[in-house]
């Protein structure tokens, strides 16, 4: 697949926004969907629909196989050791909540510490905050430096004898910093501390290898990976899934149910209660095929070129200030323009068909540290081009003109 032709795979780009071509720079929020994924949902509902894992009729068997095929594809894509280490959730948020809730319930007590970073998205802070309320645990924050990075040293500084789990982002959705997660995991494991990685921003852009990384938990958001909404993935080492109590109770997750007691199902059913997002799981297999067809190495090369081009372009543009200057940077360009409020920037850019995000990006802790109420953020996907970034830059100039 030619990287220049990728945009054609996404039907949304044939639509006009305010009579302009769509320049979609909000993929860190959610990515657009290739036609193959949309078609797969339609085909499943029109030709193959059934619930999975219960009935034994033809459709049920076929749907169950399709559902489990995605699990195997995900396992291969992230190089997990066992397909049962892949748990489907309703999103990465639920994946982190699952771990915080069950790990907290079983292993945490008053005074224990959970170590996060100042870069975390609210979804990797709020679930731990619940345990602060219910169990009296403490939450410690590793500091972000002036480049918008969290280093191995700043993690090490906050580890104490009471640290029971480290929960960190792989790639910041604001500064774009890629954290040294492999080194952090190694350090944590040397002290007997498990590690959860929020992989929402990294999964669509970086090569994932769970066995090499060695982490205990890894949360993925499928709708940011050119897949459907309503679906996330929790990767967890088998021993954790065996040891942790179930998260939600209901059909599909049980072994034997009696009036006196209940046993739970085998992995991964134990963590997949109720009817799951079946069509989304099945369609997500197409997202993985789409990514594999392009090849993650080509995606990385393409996006690195774009990010370098974009950074240079915005650095040259007077009064635009880039937020964060990490050495290892992912596909995110956050910025401010003089005193113009980011919401005004976003509305003005939108008029030209340039879709960016403005606000605190669910990272109020980080914005407070940066001394900013909000920032504007252009984030990249595999379909973006240098022309998109040129259009961003010229819309920024128009914005400056309106407010000068």
């Amino acid at each position: 697949m030619n990287i220049d032709d990728i945009k054609k795979e996404f039907p949304i780009f044939s639509n006009k926004v305010h009579n302009n071509d769509l320049v979609y720079l909000d993929s860190a929020n959610s990515s657009q969907k290739p036609l193959v994924v949309v078609d797969r949902i339609y085909d499943f509902y029109t030709k193959e629909f059934s619930n999975v894992g219960r009935s034994v009729h033809y459709l049920a068997v076929a749907a169950t196989n399709l559902y489990e095929n995605t699990r195997t594809s995900v396992q291969k894509y992230i190089n997990a050791k066992d397909k049962n280490e892949i748990v489907f959730t309703k999103g990465a948020t639920e994946a982190i909540n699952l771990v915080a809730s069950t790990f907290g319930q079983k292993y945490l007590k008053e005074g224990d510490e959970v170590l996060v970073t100042e870069l975390e998205h609210h979804s990797n802070y709020v679930p731990w905050h619940y345990l602060r309320k219910s169990k009296g645990i403490k939450i410690e924050f590793s500091e972000v430096n002036e480049n918008g990075e969290v280093t191995l040293e700043s993690i090490e500084k906050k580890i104490t004898k009471k640290t029971k789990i480290i929960a960190i982002t792989h790639l910041s959705n604001v500064t774009g910093a890629i954290l040294p997660v492999k080194e952090i995991t190694k350090l944590a494991h040397s002290k007997g501390i498990p590690v959860l990685i929020d992989g929402c921003q990294s999964a669509p852009h970086l090569k994932l290898d769970m066995q090499d990384l060695g982490c205990d938990f890894y949360a993925i958001s499928c709708h940011k990976m050119y897949g459907p909404t309503g679906l996330g993935i929790l990767y967890a080492k088998k021993k954790w899934l065996e040891e942790l109590p179930p998260y939600q109770g209901g059909g599909g997750m049980i072994g034997e149910v009696k009036k006196e007691d209940i046993t739970y199902g085998d992995l991964p059913n134990k963590f997949e209660a109720g009817t799951m997002a079946t069509a989304q799981v099945i369609a997500f297999n197409e997202s993985i095929k789409f990514l594999n067809k392009i090849g993650i190495d080509n995606i990385i090369k393409h996006e690195n070129e774009l990010i370098e081009y974009g950074q240079e372009l915005l650095r040259k543009n007077n009064s635009v200030k880039l937020i964060g200057n990490p050495k290892n940077k992912g596909a995110v360009l956050s910025f401010t323009i003089g005193n113009i409020h980011p919401h005004d920037i976003a509305t003005i850019l939108d008029e030209d068909g340039v879709a960016i995000r403005a606000g605190h990006h669910c990272c109020q802790i980080l914005h407070e540290k940066l001394g900013l109420v909000a920032t504007a953020r252009a984030s990249l996907g595999v379909y973006n081009t240098k022309e998109d970034l040129d259009k961003l830059n010229s819309s920024i100039n128009k914005c400056k003109k309106i407010f000068e």
């Binding site: 113009i340 409020h341 980011p342 919401h343 005004d344 509305t347 003005i348 008029e351 403005a358 606000g359 605190h360 109020q364 914005h367 109420v373 909000a374 309106i402 407010f403």
Partner: protein
């Protein structure tokens, strides 16, 4: 919808140089407003005299051009009005932003209404309506003092 209708000269002017952006000495009513979606904050200070007339009104805060302009225009129109009149103007403004085509109140001069109508451009931008209404909701809460801090996400526009 044209961007020029949203960012009219008067909005840009009030956004860049907000009137009454300060803190009233000896205020006797105040309230804070917050929009958690974008982080915009406003703090309204009000000084009512013994006849419940607005002797002074001011605000502090951070926000986009629309929210700053809205607070700026609001405070300049409200000064000198009685509490009852203030409530009527707020109601009229919020109804206009929500659904009505024009302002009906007799309490404002035509040129004042024209100024306020400049904010009506947000109607085309549902995500931005809250920017225009934050300071108005906060003023209601200052007058009623029913809640100290209003959170616009939980309020209807």
């Amino acid at each position: 919808m044209n961007l020029k209708e949203l960012y009219q000269e008067i909005i840009l002017d009030h956004g860049k140089n907000p009137r009454n952006l300060r803190k009233t000495d000896n205020f006797n009513k105040d309230a804070k407003g917050y929009n958690p979606l974008c982080g915009d904050k406003v703090h309204i200070y009000l000084k009512l005299n013994e006849n419940k007339k607005v002797e002074d009104i001011s605000f502090e805060g951070q926000g986009c051009a629309i929210s700053m302009a809205s607070a700026s225009i609001m405070t300049s129109l409200i000064k000198g009005k009685e509490e009852k009149e203030v409530k009527e103007i707020i109601k009229d403004f919020l109804e206009m932003i929500k659904e009505k085509e024009s302002l009906n109140t007799k309490l404002l001069e035509e040129d004042e209404k024209t100024k306020l109508m400049c904010l009506s451009g947000v109607k085309q931008y549902p995500m931005r309506v809250k920017c225009a209404t934050l300071s108005w909701h906060t003023l209601i809460s200052a007058i009623d003092k029913s809640q100290n801090e209003i959170n616009i996400k939980s309020k209807e526009i």
